[in-house]
């Protein structure tokens, strides 16, 4: 019976592992799983500390970064030698590639594993993830480590040497000149141009603190934060070890009155204050990225699957609108709408721009930063994108059901980036 044999040959199941979800009886994914899918199997971060005053003010970047490297490797239970490549997002460290290599050795990752650093300003942590995802997609390796680190105590943007020798011709080209506009002023520009009031900004910021405080209280960050012990030098020069387990910037007690009393920080008569801007912080985050076929082979539980990425340019003087351009781009490419997404992690560089993006895209506030954002948690620039991946995926996982989430951020000099992730369901 050749016909019988041929017909049965057409009925080979795709792969038992790939079909297991059907058996679980969940709502089917909008996307079909492929053995080449980019999967997150571990996402962890340090607590975020206040720059200059916080627990990490005297800590070196390589030390903090090494803590997440070690934690992620342990969490994923992999042999560090199996990592195909490491990429670290960072903005302010003039020797970030060196820092990353040192952190690798501090974590006991052998010298055979390569490392690079990447800078796309505030999306560096996401860009590091996309670089590793690209390496896996290209077939260069099956497992990669993406991370982000920023030590804003030690590396402040304003005193960076690079800005001391600027090309005088910058002033001749509008877009080039506008890249020099301080971030706080770009926030004022967004508020003015799109009519975002001081009250709206303060209320958005208050909500960020309230949500972050509630999440801390309920232990919702426990799955993503690793405790870090750091040496802190007090004003008398005495060194002591402190163990940090929580983000330092969250103010549970803040009110509209307290926020309302703050003076504009960037422009007289402006609406952007220290209270409705992201905090200057120190922190690091890491994500272990694995090709699906490799994750299945190793029996690794999948925390998230990358389903799309977009990056887009916007006018530098209103760089905060970046997510309002990048998010529609990633959704359109995936054939989805805002309604299909359960959680949006939109970086709160400033309340003005985050609020503007949320309103423009018509996203209900309860879907945006459900555990608070950078106004409460802090914004260690290069770390933020990687931090958001973990914050998003651990929250989707806590909710239990299959879900879709987007992380997005605005980018200095005028850009926005957005990535779409799916949590496959518990």
């Amino acid at each position: 019976m050749e016909r019988m044999k041929v017909m049965f040959g057409h009925l080979k199941p795709i792969s038992a592992a790939l079909q297991s979800e059907e058996v679980k009886g969940q709502t089917p994914s909008r996307f079909a799983d492929s053995p080449d899918d980019i999967c997150v199997v571990s996402a962890l971060r340090t607590p975020i500390a206040k720059a200059k005053r916080g627990a990490f003010k005297d800590t070196h970047g390589d030390d903090l970064l090494s803590q997440v490297f070690t934690a992620v490797i342990k969490d994923a239970k992999i042999n560090p030698a199996d990592i195909g490549d490491i990429c670290v997002g960072n903005v302010g460290d003039g020797r970030s590639a060196f820092t990353a290599r040192i952190a690798q050795f501090f974590s006991g990752i052998p010298e055979t594993v390569p490392v690079s650093s990447v800078n796309r300003q505030c999306s560096s942590g996401l860009q590091a993830f996309m670089n590793i995802a690209g390496g896996i997609k290209n077939g260069a390796y099956d497992i990669g480590l993406a991370a982000g680190v920023e030590m804003m105590s030690k590396n402040t943007i304003a005193d960076r040497k690079q800005f001391s020798d600027l090309n005088p011709r910058i002033t001749e080209v509008d877009n080039a000149r506008n890249c020099l506009i301080p971030m706080g002023i770009t926030s004022e520009n967004v508020a003015k141009k799109f009519g975002i009031t001081r009250e709206e900004q303060d209320r958005f910021s208050l909500e960020s603190h309230k949500r972050a405080a509630r999440a801390q209280q309920q232990g919702l960050f426990d799955a993503e934060i690793i405790p870090v012990t750091a040496n802190v030098v007090d004003k008398d020069g005495n060194e002591r070890a402190v163990t940090v387990t929580k983000d330092e910037g969250v103010r549970a007690e803040t009110t509209m009155e307290i926020l309302g009393k703050l003076q504009p920080a960037f422009e007289e008569g402006g609406s952007t204050t220290a209270g409705n801007s992201s905090q200057v912080s120190d922190g690091a985050a890491g994500v272990l990225v694995v090709r699906r076929s490799e994750a299945i082979k190793r029996g690794m539980p999948i925390l998230g699957v990358l389903r799309g990425f977009a990056v887009a340019g916007v006018p530098p003087e209103i760089m905060g609108i970046g997510p309002a351009v990048a998010i529609p781009k990633v959704l359109e490419r995936a054939g989805l709408t805002v309604d299909d997404i359960d959680i949006f992690e939109i970086n709160e560089a400033f309340a003005s721009q985050a609020y503007y993006c949320m309103k423009t895209l018509g996203i209900p506030h309860e879907k945006v930063n459900p555990k608070g954002g950078a106004i409460a948690l802090g914004h260690p620039l290069g770390c933020t994108g990687t931090r958001q991946i973990g914050t998003l995926l651990h929250e989707l996982k806590r909710r239990g059901k299959r879900g879709l989430g987007v992380i997005s951020m605005c980018i200095g000099t005028g850009m926005g980036a957005a990535a779409l992730f799916e949590f496959p369901g518990n």
Binding site: R3, M7, H10, K12, Q19, F31, A32, G335
Partner: protein, 315 residues
Amino acid sequence: MTLSFRTIGKHGYAVEYSPYFHQRLACTTSQYYGLAGSGTLFILDSTPGGFLLVQAYDWNDGLFDVTWAENNENLIITGAGDGSLLLFDVAQSKGPLKAWKEHTKEVNSVDWSQTRDEHLVLSGSWDTLIKMWDIGRNQSLCTFVGHEYIVYSVVWSPHIPGCFASASGDHTLRIWDARQPQFARTVIPAHNAEVLTCDWCKYDKNMIFSGGVDSLIRGWDLRNTRQCAVELSGHQYAVRRIKTYPFDGQILGSCSYDFTVRLWDIRQPHHLDCIQHHKEFVYGLDFNVHKPGLVADCGWDELVHEYSPQCLLPR
């Protein structure tokens, strides 16, 4: 609104709309799921009151595929399980007019050239061979050699004269020049599984789509076949047949062993629509070339359906 016709005792293998009459379609079927027994070719007219049976021709083996003549509104060719190619005149109740027997195994696919002055027919067979025919002659014009396993599908390019594609159980999609039967112009290792179907984009002469037992649909740009240009996943089992939509180069339809028919926009990673009105393997699928949005399909549940999927309705 779905029109349905029951091919009682016969399991559907292929449906094809007439290029001449918007209401007319042909459906080839086989007894016992095509594993044994006879076959019937049904000629149906869809009317507001339902399908009208115009003709039914029996053959002593299963009929696996069908193609209408492009130069005569009544001529139609089918491929049979006994390896023969059969020509019928639907104006006559008896048939076939002619039968050619050269293939040594089942003929799985037949296709009539669409754009050329010469009217040539291709047949693809389980004997691994592809043959080209002129219905005015008693023997095939030539035989294309190269596939290493069953040839499931042969389709003329709607754009390039003398060019056609074939899909095979040897995991490859091959592109041929009719003047060079000794070897294929391009061999694409299209799927890591048997390739059961292929169809050309009607709007881009370089684009062709393949479907396989790996449940994937892939789009290939013939200028660079090292990797696929499009990959559509969602079917749970083998993709039996794909058809590109005549009215939009980005849309295609597929039917599968997972009992569904799906419609896709190749710019989106997931299907536009998933139609689940069959209770068995869906083998036949075609788009009406006269009426945008009209689809016919048939399957092993003895049903032929004609309907207009929501996603193809004008917006």
